[in-house]
């Protein structure tokens, strides 16, 4: 499927990754335009049901990004999210739904380049995977 453009939803922490994405934009770094960003006050705000609901609605990839270890403004939101995402990915693997559609990254406010690289890589991987099989299903 050469012209498949994956849809990506990114949940970005206000204090770091959201600013990182902003920096990528203002520095005019090149990255695929497939991402819809949702700002959250901490990556810890991302309830697994947000991720699962997006997948169920047919979104091809979900990126969650938060502050680096030690930098979370609420102490441990990022660590807990790391665990939560780990569990979601394991669950998806067990259910036979590609867990690569979900990704968690630490991206700081100064890492515009990391944000751009992450999105580029992610979109590349999603193109390999093809469309989310739940998209076309009547469910």
């Amino acid at each position: 499927m050469p012209d498949f453009e994956p849809s990506v939803v990114a949940f970005l922490c206000n204090w770091c990754s959201y600013a990182g994405a902003d920096l990528a934009g203002t520095s005019r770094l090149k990255y695929p335009p497939n991402v819809r960003s949702i700002r959250v006050m901490c990556s810890g705000r991302v309830d697994p049901v947000f991720v699962l609901d997006a997948l169920k609605e047919g979104i091809d990839g979900i990126l969650v990004a938060g502050c680096h270890p030690g930098d979370c403004h609420y102490q441990s939101g990022n660590y807990k999210t790391n665990r939560k995402i780990k569990l979601i990915k394991k669950l998806l693997d067990e259910l036979g739904i590609e867990s690569d559609r979900v990704r968690f990254e630490y991206i700081s406010a100064s890492e515009g380049q990391k944000f751009a690289d992450t999105v580029t890589e992610f979109v590349f991987r999603l193109k390999e995977l093809g469309p989310n099989p739940l998209k076309e299903e009547c469910q």
């Binding site: 049901v49 609605e57 660590y79 569990l87 990915k89 067990e94 036979g96 469910q139």
Partner: protein
């Protein structure tokens, strides 16, 4: 840990009933929570009994309409008991209770934990109109009822209680003569103090019987997991749940489904008509608001690490969806990933409340 002989009087259930009665009469406990038979004998349910004359327990009745773990949680989560209670439960019930304590939804203060060896249970209807010979409790005690066991019981993760104040044992006992009381703690000792019980010399028979039954279950489980391996992928999952009527019974029956109010019983997924229109246009068609797949996956996400594989979800399903066909494997593998075995070690923290700074570095890949 010491084994004592509990001589059988009339039959096995009434012998245990007599033991509980004695504790009540002598004021060692003020109430018992245990499976009590209905007058017709067609069902049994957990009851809290304080009057010895009203005690009509059958702790081996092969039926599990609800988990006693759930009952103890309901009765103690507002505040624990200040007077002594004995709770008699099977292995899977106790494992769920341990999880509930960790979830701060049960309080074991003043609770004596009495485990019973579990020969397995039937579906409720199989019990109430038992198609086999004789009575279902005798059949299961004589190991003549394997064909009637629930799938969760055939593949039971562990039918023997390890950590309790006392375990009432049938495995390795000569049920014509006696039951085995495996007294494990000081609290357990205080219950039998003053009773004229003979110490049973440990000849290794019980251990062998327990090992054997565990081996049988593990073997069943392995075959079961192999058979069900291929229920994977979007199409198969949707097919698996296609008869789901979204009643949420599986969630209500689950002893470890911990939310006090389920997100899916709330109105968060109720949107304005135009949003549904947008969704219909985006997808072409969608299953009207009751979306079962999201419910099930979210439910797994909540309880899978604490799942004790009691099979109560499957038993509660009005559409007979064989939920254990997928839950058994997912629970085992997800728990392994987090190095967590639910219901065994009360000190082991729930995986989702702890974290280590350097771990699971591969989530991004």
């Amino acid at each position: 840990m010491t084994y004592y002989e509990l001589p059988i009087k009339e039959d096995v259930p009434s012998t245990v009933n007599g033991l509980l009665r004695e504790w009540l009469v002598h004021g060692k406990i003020e109430a018992v929570i245990a499976m009590q038979e209905t007058p017709s004998g067609k069902s049994a349910f957990p009851a809290m009994v304080s009057d010895p004359d009203k005690l009509n327990t059958n702790v081996f009745a092969p039926i599990l309409p609800v988990s006693i773990g759930t009952m103890v949680s309901k009765m103690t989560r507002v505040r624990g008991s200040t007077s002594p209670i004995a709770v008699v439960l099977r292995s899977c019930e106790l494992r769920s209770l341990v999880e509930l304590v960790k979830l701060k939804q049960a309080d074991l203060n003043n609770v004596f934990i009495i485990g019973v060896d579990c020969p397995g249970t039937f579906l409720i209807n199989t019990f109430s109109s038992y198609p086999g010979k004789g009575n279902p409790t005798e059949a299961v005690l004589n190991d003549e009822a394997e064909g009637y066991l629930r799938s969760a019981c055939l593949n039971c993760k562990d039918p023997v209680v390890e950590s309790a104040d006392m375990v009432i044992g049938i495995f390795g006992a000569d049920l014509k003569k006696n039951l085995i009381l495996d007294v494990k703690t000081d609290n357990g000792n205080s219950l039998i103090k003053g009773m004229d019980l003979k110490v049973l010399k440990d000849d290794g028979k019980r251990k062998k019987a327990v090992d054997d039954i565990r081996k049988v279950k593990d073997g069943n489980r392995e075959i079961f997991l192999k058979e069900k391996e291929e229920i994977k992928g979007a199409d198969k999952l949707l097919e698996f749940f296609e008869t789901c009527v979204n009643c949420h019974n599986c969630m209500k029956a689950c002893p470890v489904c911990y939310c006090k109010e389920c997100l899916f019983d709330s109105s968060v997924f109720d949107l304005e008509a135009n949003k549904y229109m947008a969704k219909a246009k985006a997808k072409g068609a969608f299953k009207a608001p009751t979306d079962s797949l999201l419910f099930h996956i979210t439910k797994f996400n909540h309880m899978i690490l604490s799942c004790v594989e009691c099979g109560l979800c499957e038993q509660a399903c009005p559409s007979n969806i064989p939920l254990m066909d997928i839950i058994t494997g997912i629970a085992e593998n997800a728990q392994k990933e987090f190095g967590y075995t639910p219901g065994t070690d009360p000190e082991a923290p729930l995986p989702m409340v702890v974290y280590r700074e350097e771990e699971f570095q591969d989530v991004g890949e």
